[in-house]
Structures are given as structure tokens and as C-alpha cells.
């Protein structure tokens, strides 16, 4: 029997609320398959399974709030026979939507009554109390109720067996006084708290050092302009994609900047899973990863970046994208400031920052000219690397950015 646990969803997301199961008992689960959707302070996330098997039992129910690591379901390993039902210790199959109270496994799942103001703490391994009668409500209706700030306990369901439907929720929302802004404000506050916790942890634990380098981009931008002029609009490349690619390529020679520091030991990563800090329109940010960025041609990287930004803002991301990053890049873009010195996302050990690309005076070979320049910075973990290596990395990054044709490959 395999325990499927709520995976880590990044440094600043340590708990989630189950919105919806995408599988049911008896279903076969493949590696990488999305098995459920979990809501966090930042976004609703499609959670993938990295184990294969057959769903034996769903332990968590939509609406349950649980910390990372909670056992959410049990899988039968391929070839494993189902355990026969033998009273205590046997598997209790709960038909989906059953209203009867249900046993909760020792995973610390917290059942939060819909609309509850303060989440209750559950001791590790304890069994959380369960509302005697769960409201019958579809995940979609429940999600909508949370968004609209509708208390579903106060609703009379019009669906089968008194189930609360999407329509009931929206009708109730239309009748209640204008409190629509409240849930959005809640999410903003939650996100602020999540960022605060992760960044405080980073600054407490990680001895940061910082180096920076001004990098001329005339050649890169000329190449992009020429390339884009020959492409349809949909295939246009942004300088942001080239900066990301250069970081990924340069990191190959600096394993001490690409990996994870856990439990007092550093583990360099083989591939560069490039976390990209994406500002969300309602405030806050999220840093999902472009996987194997070093191996992807520039055009592909650009497509993935566009897709990632779109999905980050729509709040639709996969768990693997949020936990995989081995390093993070923050790019202030052309509305940003001159440079940025970022805070490392634990357990990563480095963050590369780019300021606004702007024309600046540039001295070279005894002459002065005006060039587009970007200030690149590195924030790195002094437990793992030193400023000298950090500076060499930035020089290597500058070199990569002078070779657009090579970078495009």
C-alpha cells in the first residue's frame, strides 16, 4: 500500500485545502497524473502523483484543510491485491458524496466547517473531529461560495437530497449585502502571510551575500529584433526569455549555485529548474519553475514562460512546478528599477536578479558610447559558495548574453 501525501508546494505554502478529487477508488493512477486540486494562499494547484497504482481509498474530502505531508489517499502498488475488508484495520470504502461520518486516517487532516473563521489545530497523528452532517455541495459550488463569501451552512439546497448547487450559491450571493471584496482581501492577506513566513525564514537561516554586474545587451537586442522581424507575432521572443536562458546555461559551470540546502547539507542539482518570480495582478508573487531550462531552445523557453505567466495569473499550476525550482530568477522588467537584490527562496541557495534594460553610458577601449545595459545581481548562500565564485558566475552570464545565436540553441 502506498500513502499518497500532500506534496510540498514551495517554500511559502505549507498547507492547502482540498478542492476536488480528480480520481476515485478503483481508478488507475499514472506517474505525473493530476489526482486532485488543492487551494493554497496563492493559487489553486493541480497536484500530481509521482507514484503509480490503483486508488484504494480517498482519505481527504473536499473542504479539508491539511498541512504538507498529510496522507490524502492510499494507492495499491501495481500488482498488489486489495486488502480484504476485515473490520478494524480494513479499508473503509466511502462512496463519493456519502453523508455519513467517516473515519479519518492518522494523517492530521483537519476538517474545517465551511465558512469557519479560525482554522483549528490538529495534533500530529490525531484524529480530527468531523462535522456530523457534511453539507452536500459540489466542489464547484463550494469554491464559488468561498469566492463570493457565501456561508453554505445558511443555504437551503435545491439539488438532489438537499444538495447545495452552484445556482443556490450565486442566488444567495446576489441577495447578500455587498461583501464581495472580503474573500479577495482574505487571499491577499493570506498570501502576504505566506510570503512573510518564507522570507523571514530565509533571512533568519541563510547568510546572504550579494554581487552585481552591468551587462551590455546591444548585440542580444539587435539579434532579437532581427529574429522577431522574421517571425509572426505569436512567435516573438522577449528579452526576458534570453536572460533566463543565459542564467540556465551559465549555471552549468557553477553547481554551488543550483541546488538545495537541507538539514545542514548541500545537494547540487543536475538539471536547472528555473524558478521564475511572477508578480500577480492582485499583489504578491509566485515562483513556478521552468523545468530543465538549460536544455530547452530559446523559442521553447519563451513559449513555456508565456504559458507559465498566463497560468500563474489564472491560478492554475501544477504541484511539480511549484516545488521543483533549483534556483530563482527575478526580473523587474522594463517598468522596474535599475537593479534588484532579492531574497533567496529556501531551500534554494541562489537568486539571480535583473533590473530594467535601459540605455546607459558605456566605457570601452578608452571610448564612451551609449548602449542598452542590464544590471544583473546574484544573491547567494554563503554556507555553500563565496563572493569570488558568485562574481565569476555573473561574468559567465555576461559572456553568454553576448552570444545570442549560441543561446538560441
Amino acid at each position: 500500500m502506498i500513502d499518497f501525501k500532500l506534496p510540498s508546494l514551495g517554500a511559502d505554502m505549507d498547507e492547502g485545502v482540498l478542492l476536488e478529487w480528480k480520481v476515485k477508488p478503483g481508478d488507475t493512477v499514472k506517474k505525473g497524473q493530476v489526482v486532485c486540486v488543492v487551494d493554497t494562499a496563492k493559487a489553486a494547484i493541480d497536484v500530481e502523483s509521482w507514484q503509480e497504482g490503483t486508488v484504494a481509498e480517498l482519505l481527504a474530502q473536499p473542504g479539508d484543510k491539511m498541512p504538507v505531508g498529510t496522507v490524502m489517499m492510499r494507492l495499491l502498488a501495481p500488482g498488489e491485491a486489495a486488502t480484504p475488508k476485515v473490520g478494524a484495520g480494513g479499508i473503509e470504502h466511502v462512496p463519493p458524496g456519502a453523508a455519513s461520518p467517516r473515519k479519518v486516517g492518522a494523517g492530521g487532516i483537519e476538517h474545517v466547517p465551511p465558512g469557519a473563521a479560525s482554522p483549528r489545530k490538529v495534533s500530529a497523528g490525531g484524529t480530527a473531529p468531523l462535522a456530523a452532517e457534511r453539507r452536500r455541495i459540489s466542489p464547484a459550488a463550494k469554491k464559488r461560495a468561498a469566492e463570493l463569501g457565501v456561508d453554505i451552512d445558511q443555504l437551503v439546497g435545491s439539488g438532489p437530497q438537499g444538495a447545495v448547487t452552484l445556482e443556490d450559491v450565486e442566488k444567495a450571493a446576489a441577495q447578500q449585502p455587498a461583501t464581495g471584496a472580503q474573500p479577495a482581501a482574505d487571499r491577499t492577506r493570506e498570501m502576504r502571510q505566506a510570503i512573510a513566513a518564507a522570507m523571514s525564514h530565509s533571512k533568519r537561516e541563510i547568510p546572504h551575500y550579494y554581487v552585481s554586474e552591468d551587462i551590455p545587451l546591444a548585440r542580444m537586442l539587435a539579434w532579437l529584433e532581427e529574429t522577431n522581424a522574421q517571425r509572426p507575432m505569436i512567435d516573438r521572443l522577449l528579452p526576458a526569455a534570453a536572460l533566463l536562458k543565459a542564467v540556465a546555461r551559465a549555471l552549468a559551470d557553477y553547481p554551488e549555485l543550483n541546488g538545495h540546502y537541507r538539514d545542514g547539507a548541500y545537494q547540487p542539482a543536475k538539471a536547472v529548474h528555473l524558478g521564475v518570480a511572477i508578480a500577480l495582478r492582485e499583489g504578491g508573487l509566485i515562483a513556478p519553475a521552468i523545468l530543465d531550462a538549460q536544455a530547452k531552445p530559446l523559442t521553447k523557453l519563451m513559449q513555456e514562460l508565456a504559458d507559465l505567466v498566463r497560468r500563474a495569473r489564472a491560478g492554475s499550476m501544477r504541484s511539480s512546478e511549484l516545488s521543483a525550482a533549483t534556483v530563482t530568477v527575478t526580473n523587474l522588467g522594463d517598468q522596474g528599477s535599475h537593479g534588484v537584490f532579492g531574497v533567496i527562496t529556501p531551500p534554494q541557495v541562489a537568486l539571480v536578479g535583473f533590473g530594467r534594460i535601459a540605455e546607459r553610458p558605456w566605457a570601452e577601449n578608452g571610448g564612451l558610447k551609449v548602449l542598452p545595459v542590464v544590471t544583473a545581481s546574484l544573491s547567494a548562500d554563503h554556507r555553500v559558495s563565496d563572493g569570488h565564485r558568485g562574481a565569476l558566475f555573473l561574468r559567465s552570464l555576461a559572456d553568454w548574453l553576448q552570444q545570442p545565436e549560441e543561446l538560441a540553441r
Binding site: 508578480a279 508565456a306 517598468q335
Partner: protein, 86 residues
């Protein structure tokens, strides 16, 4: 296409990228990207949206002219009439 129809399409496309935009509060004479906080990816997506809605190709070399909403509307109107003339 008359100017108010075009404006409607441009604002709707913008709101697809930046849902918080209120049409009434947009100033035609101020730099659009600063009013709405569009980064380079948002800007590209906005222009792609206009390309899809209007069938107008917007070369990168023209970006520099498209600073304000007024300039963008002028540019698009010109492109559309150019196309219907040909």
C-alpha cells in the same frame, strides 16, 4: 469600424490581460503601460489579443510609437483603413 467600436475592442482586450482596469478611469493622454502596469509579457499578450481581434499585424519596430491609448487607437485606425483601402 468607427472609433468607439475600436475603443471598445481595445479596452476589452486590455481587460482580458488586466481585469482590474476601469474604462472610465483610463487617461488617453498618459503612457498606457504605466497606468495599467503592463510588463513586457502582458504587453505582448495585449498586442497578440489585438492582432486576433482585429487581424492587424503590429511589427516590433512600431512599439515605440504606441505609448498612450490615443496613439494606439490612431495607429490601429490607420492600419484598419489601410487594409480596407487595399
Amino acid at each position: 469600424m468607427n472609433p468607439s467600436e475600436l475603443r471598445g475592442i481595445v479596452i476589452a482586450t486590455l481587460q482580458g490581460i488586466a481585469p482590474e482596469v476601469e474604462a472610465a478611469r483610463l487617461r488617453d493622454d498618459l503612457p498606457l503601460r504605466r497606468q495599467v502596469d503592463l510588463d513586457s509579457m502582458d504587453w505582448l499578450n495585449f498586442l497578440l489579443g489585438l492582432n486576433k481581434a482585429l487581424g492587424v499585424e503590429i511589427p516590433e519596430k512600431d512599439y515605440a510609437r504606441l505609448t498612450t491609448l490615443a496613439a494606439l487607437l490612431d495607429y490601429l485606425q490607420h492600419k484598419l483603413s489601410e487594409r480596407s483601402a487595399s
